[in-house]
C-alpha cells in the first residue's frame, strides 16, 4: 500500500514537472496560441506603391505649407514656411526615388520625382525625370504638363508652346492648367529672360489664351451644353 502510494505520488510529481503535453511543432494550445505563419513578403511593385504614396503625402504637405505661406506677409514667417516646403519636397523626392528603385517602370513615380525636383530648384534633374516618365508612357499628360511648366521656368518658350499644343490635342484640362501657369509666369517673368523672345511668347500666349476661352466646350465640362 505504501509502495503504491509512493509510485502514484512519484508519477504525479513527474507528470507535474513534465508540464502539459504540447502538440508537435511547439506553441501553446491555449491562450497565446500557435505562432502564425510568416506574413507574405511584399512584392517590389507593392513596396514601390507604398513608397510612392508616402511621397505623395509629403508632396501634399508641401502644398499645404505653400498655401499657408502664400497668405502670409511677415517675411520671417514666410521664410520659416518656405523651409518646411523645401523639407517636405525633399522627403517626397526621396520616397519617389525609393519607389523607382523598386519599380523602375513606374512612370507616375518618375513624373512626381520630376515635380518634386523642380520645386527644389533642380531643373536639370527634373527634366530628366519627366523625360523618363514620358519614355515609359508617352500619353502621360501629367508629365507633359509638368515638363511644360519646367520649360517655362527655364525660359524655353518654344518647348513650352509645343507642350501646350500637345496637351490641347490630348488633354484639354491639362492644357488649361499649363496656360494658367503661363499667364502667371508672364505677370512676373524670370530675370535674365531674352526680352525679344519673351515678347513673342507673350503675343503667342495671349492669342492662345483667347482661343482657349472661345473653345471652352472642348474642356469636356460643357459636353451637356452641346
Amino acid at each position: 500500500m505504501k509502495f503504491k502510494l509512493l509510485v502514484t505520488f512519484s508519477l504525479t510529481i513527474l507528470l507535474g514537472l513534465s508540464g502539459p503535453a504540447y502538440p508537435a511543432g511547439g506553441g501553446s494550445i491555449s491562450g497565446g496560441g500557435m505562432s502564425s505563419p510568416a506574413a507574405p513578403k511584399k512584392t517590389p511593385q507593392q513596396l514601390a506603391v507604398i513608397n510612392y504614396n508616402k511621397g505623395i503625402k509629403h508632396r501634399d504637405k508641401a502644398w499645404k505649407y505653400q498655401e499657408k505661406s502664400a497668405g502670409m506677409t511677415d517675411a520671417e514667417q514666410i521664410a520659416k514656411y518656405d523651409k518646411k516646403v523645401t523639407k517636405e519636397f525633399g522627403k517626397a523626392a526621396n520616397k519617389f526615388e525609393a519607389a523607382i528603385k523598386k519599380a523602375p517602370r513606374l512612370h507616375e513615380a518618375h513624373s512626381s520625382l520630376g515635380y518634386a525636383l523642380r520645386n527644389l530648384g533642380d531643373y536639370g534633374a527634373s527634366l530628366a525625370a519627366y523625360d523618363r516618365a514620358l519614355d515609359l508612357n508617352p500619353s502621360y499628360t501629367e508629365a507633359i504638363e509638368y515638363r511644360g511648366e519646367t520649360y517655362l521656368a527655364l525660359g524655353r518658350f518654344e518647348a513650352t508652346q509645343e507642350a501646350y499644343i500637345k496637351l490641347v490635342q490630348m488633354d484639354r484640362p491639362k492644357a488649361d492648367l499649363l496656360m494658367a501657369a503661363i499667364q502667371k509666369f508672364l505677370k512676373k517673368p524670370s530675370a535674365g529672360v531674352d526680352q525679344e523672345k519673351l515678347r513673342r511668347f507673350k503675343d503667342w500666349a495671349n492669342t492662345r489664351n483667347t482661343l482657349a476661352q472661345l473653345t471652352q466646350d472642348l474642356s469636356g465640362k460643357a459636353a451637356s451644353n452641346w
Binding site: Q161, I165, V168, Q169, M170, R172, T207, R208, L211, L214, T215, D217, L218, G220, A222, A223, N225, W226
Partner: protein, 322 residues
C-alpha cells in the same frame, strides 16, 4: 451573336470613328456602353447610297445629302422621289455624334428622325413602306451577307435604321483651317483671325447660337417672319428652328431652314438688320472690310479632307444606287 446582342436595343449608338486631332469623344457616345464596329458603319454607308431605298429606285439618302456639299444638296428645299418638294433645306449631316437630337424642328433621336425621309407621305421623300422592305434590298447578296454577319435578325427596318445611323454618326468633320489653328497652332490669315474676333464679339454675338464644337449649340431659334409657304396648323406664325452648323458653311448654300439665302453675304445682311430683338438678334453695323474678314473666318471652317474622304463616299460599283 455577341455583336448582335451588343447592338440590339440601343436607343442611341456609340461610335468609334477615328476622331480629328484634339476632338473629344462624341456626345452621343457618352450615353451608351457598346462601341460600333466598322461592318455596321460600312453597311450603313451602302444603304445611304442605295436608291433602292425609295419607292421608285430614284432617290437615296445621298440624293439630298451629297458629300462634296457637306451632305447637303445645293437646293433651297429638296426634291423627293416623286418630285414633291420637301419642307426644309437639306440639313448638313456633319458631327451629328455631337448633337443631342435631330431634325430642323424636332428633337428626335437619330433613328426616330429617319422615319421622316424614309416613310413620310406628305411630302414623299423616299416613299418607303414601314411594313415592307423592298425585294431588291432583301435579295441583294451584299445585304444578305452583311445583315447576317452583324445582326442575328434578318433585314428589318430597325436594323436598316441602326446601320444608317451608324454611318451618319461616323461623319465627323474637324480638319479645317480653324481646327489646324486650334489643335496644331497653324494660324490662318490675319484677316480670318480678325473675322473670328468679330464672330465672338459682343457686337455681332454670332457665337451665342453658333458656338460649341459644331458652331451650332443646341439652340432652337424663333423665326420672326410669318411663314406663308408652311403653317404649323395655321395657328402660330412663328416656328422655332434649330441653328445649323457653320462647319463647311462655304459649300452648303443656300442657307436657312428654307434655303432662302443664296450667299453668306445675304445671311450676314439678314442678321445685321436685327431680325429678332427679343432673342438678342438686335442687329449690328459692319464695314465692308469686316464683312470680308467674317467671311474669311467662316470659310476657314471648311474641311476639304471630310468633303473628299473616300470612306464617306459611294461604295457601289454599279449604277443602280445613287
Amino acid at each position: 451573336m455577341l455583336l448582335a446582342s451588343l447592338l440590339s436595343g440601343s436607343q442611341t449608338i456609340a461610335s468609334e470613328p477615328t476622331l480629328p486631332l484634339g476632338f473629344p469623344k462624341p456626345h452621343q457616345q457618352q450615353s451608351v456602353n457598346e462601341p460600333l464596329v466598322e461592318p455596321l458603319i460600312e453597311l450603313g454607308r451602302h444603304l445611304f447610297y442605295d436608291a433602292r431605298l425609295s419607292t421608285n429606285d430614284t432617290t437615296s439618302c445621298a440624293t439630298c445629302h451629297i458629300q462634296a456639299l457637306a451632305f447637303t444638296d445645293g437646293k433651297p428645299t429638296s426634291i423627293g422621289a416623286t418630285g414633291a418638294l420637301t419642307e426644309h433645306n437639306a440639313m448638313s449631316l456633319v458631327n451629328l455624334a455631337y448633337r443631342d437630337s435631330f431634325g430642323w424642328r424636332d428633337k428626335h433621336d437619330a433613328r426616330q428622325q429617319l422615319d421622316r425621309p424614309l416613310f413620310a407621305e406628305d411630302p414623299i421623300e423616299m416613299g418607303m413602306n414601314p411594313k415592307a422592305i423592298p425585294e431588291s434590298i432583301l435579295n441583294e447578296p451584299y445585304y444578305q451577307s452583311a445583315f447576317k454577319q452583324i445582326f442575328s435578325d434578318t433585314i428589318t427596318w430597325p436594323n436598316i435604321k441602326q446601320a444608317l445611323v451608324a454611318f451618319e454618326l461616323s461623319l465627323v468633320s474637324g480638319n479645317s483651317e480653324y481646327d489646324d489653328w486650334v489643335f496644331q497652332d497653324k494660324p490662318p490669315s490675319e484677316a480670318a483671325i480678325a473675322g473670328m474676333a468679330l464672330f465672338h464679339s459682343d457686337r455681332l454675338n454670332c457665337s451665342q447660337c453658333h458656338g460649341g464644337i459644331g458652331f451650332n449649340n443646341e439652340f432652337f431659334i424663333e423665326e420672326t417672319e410669318p411663314r406663308t409657304d408652311f403653317q404649323d396648323n395655321g395657328s402660330e406664325p412663328t416656328i422655332p428652328f434649330r441653328t445649323a452648323t457653320l462647319r463647311n458653311i462655304e459649300v452648303t448654300a443656300p442657307y436657312m431652314h428654307d434655303g432662302r439665302f443664296e450667299t453668306l453675304e445675304q445671311v450676314i445682311g439678314f442678321y445685321a438688320a436685327g431680325p429678332n430683338p427679343e432673342n438678342n438678334l438686335k442687329g449690328f453695323e459692319l464695314t465692308a472690310l469686316e464683312t470680308q474678314q467674317l467671311l474669311l473666318f467662316l470659310n476657314s471652317l471648311t474641311d476639304q479632307t471630310f468633303l473628299t474622304n473616300p470612306a464617306f463616299g459611294n461604295p457601289w460599283q454599279r449604277a443602280k444606287p445613287n
